[in-house]
Point group: C2
């Protein structure tokens, strides 16, 4: 018999009077996708802060943009965000910034997303509180968007960011473009920041076995809300030239209402019209467990299934509780 490896780690349960820990996701976007030292310096506070889990970060040189995925408790996430934002404001000059992705600030967007035991309303409040504090500590003006919008048209990020940094520098003086927090002028190098609250978003792509991009464009039209498809799906048709495929590239903005199996089956159905096979799909970036479990339950015909039956989810649910 071998001797057993000493087991030194334990999971801890935080003391508290509430039974469940509040967990949010946060996906801040920074306008830096090329300078590795700056990227690492921005990400560093998310690594160090307890209660803030750095799930993923992806820098894209073409977009010149850094997308960070965080999850954890609201307070530590906010503290880490402020630290990271200060690094970005210090090191990124929008006057020198070029890239393929629309942007208006060094810290471009900060969406708060309810994940567990927290409501959308609480995330909206969080966005408002955080936006004010962020402005106080950095001087960068803030626009609230999506669920946190204070003006109806600002629910749409593309309206907030219209003209990007260069255009907004002029337009900000117009009353309808005034920021929600701060004076009507941009930060001289860090521009402005959109702070919001939204539901979790699943980036879901379906790759089709044809080189004819019209097929992907037609199927995107059939499935997306803007042309009358599923109400919570955004999508475009793209060519994947290197692979000899085309892609329906989608954001499923409410996976509870438009389940992934329904999106997939709708695309399979439409693809038949063109005699084109679905070659594969892709889930890009992070996805909540429920989005995939719902599809497993559909295809396996599981009756009466509860996420509490999933060992890992039940464990996570109990974390932060006193175990009772």
């Amino acid at each position: 018999m071998n001797t057993v490896t000493p087991i030194v780690k334990t999971i801890t349960w935080e003391e508290g009077t509430e039974s469940m820990a509040q967990i949010i996701e946060c996906v801040p976007n920074f306008s830096e996708g090329r300078r590795q030292d700056v990227i690492e310096a921005i990400v560093e506070p998310f690594r160090r802060r307890r209660g803030c889990a750095l799930l993923d970060y992806r820098a894209d040189a073409d977009h010149n943009r850094l997308v960070v995925s965080l999850a954890g408790a609201p307070d530590p996430i906010q503290e880490a965000l402020l630290e990271a934002a200060k690094v970005a404001v210090e090191h990124i000059d929008l006057n020198q910034h070029q890239g393929g992705h629309p942007r208006m600030g060094a810290v471009d967007v900060i969406p708060f997303v309810p994940l567990r035991n927290i409501t959308m309303e609480a995330c909206v409040e969080l966005a408002h509180r955080f936006g004010k504090r962020y402005h106080e500590e950095t001087g960068v003006p803030v626009y609230f968007y999506e669920e946190a919008a204070l003006r109806p048209e600002r629910r749409r990020l593309e309206v907030v960011r219209k003209g990007q940094y260069e255009g907004l520098k002029e337009a900000v003086t117009q009353p309808e473009r005034h920021p929600d927090v701060g004076e009507p002028r941009l930060h001289p190098t860090a521009g402005a920041t959109a702070v919001g609250a939204r539901k979790i978003l699943v980036a879901f792509n379906v790759n089709l076995g044809t080189t004819d991009v019209r097929v992907a464009k037609e199927i995107a039209k059939a499935v997306r809300s803007s042309s009358g498809g599923l109400c919570h799906v955004k999508g475009i048709g793209l060519s994947l030239e290197d692979r000899g495929l085309v892609q329906v590239s989608m954001n499923v903005v409410d996976y509870e209402k438009n389940a992934l199996y329904r999106v997939t089956e709708l695309i399979r159905m439409e693809a038949k019209r063109w005699g084109v096979p679905v070659v594969e799909t892709e889930v890009y970036g992070m996805v909540p467990a429920a989005a995939l479990l719902e599809s497993a339950a559909y295809y396996l015909q599981i009756a009466g299934f509860s996420p509490d039956q999933v060992i890992e989810l039940k464990m996570l649910e109990m974390l932060g509780s006193d175990g009772s």
Copy 2:
């Protein structure tokens, strides 16, 4: 704007030199399914112990048996198990016990199951260490079974438990029935305990739209290993008379090798032969996330999918780490 509810809870990351927490599942079975006060007294230590999550417990009066599902770190689970076992040994007298389920001890079986960042070998060592300590503290003799078996034939629990409490009381004096830990005699009231290590087991049932139980029996034969089906599936055909259905009731003992989608599709295929529909399936009790994610990935044709993309799993993976 409403004032925000104070956010008092945070998730904590345990300090440590290793980056990942070891997590096991443990499913102890106790021979008490009727006396509510005894059931609650047995379960109580699992509620109180930090690092040991009480996922689920089910008492069955017909079986006169209590099945507890735990997950967490090995050390707190062992400590809580010892406390609970002492309650069971004190309050359950096998000489007075009757029930539908085979049993040989007040604490009947204790399987340790590797869940995350721990090997089967480490769980076998854990079973051996725990078995010795349990015997020292309770006087109950121990048999090691499944992966923890010290004699090949004892891998099978039914061999260990042959004759149940009443039969083993006599047979224990025969050398081939001697316990692995303790003298060759049973505890006068608490019998003997089987301590083991095994892979996670998924209890999966498929309900078919017929009242002809032969269909379920034939399909069970086609799918289970004992009659030449899938190597890691056990199964029987049953009648669900109240519902006018029949059931293929299965244990998938290695869901990584025999994925649920493959089991389901095989049964759908066989059911066609009888012109019988699959009405629904059931996942009974706890299931690891991977068992369902694998099926979601199959049916949705997700390419290059990683469990690290699932927010909750990534968070759990980071718990117990120092966040780096």
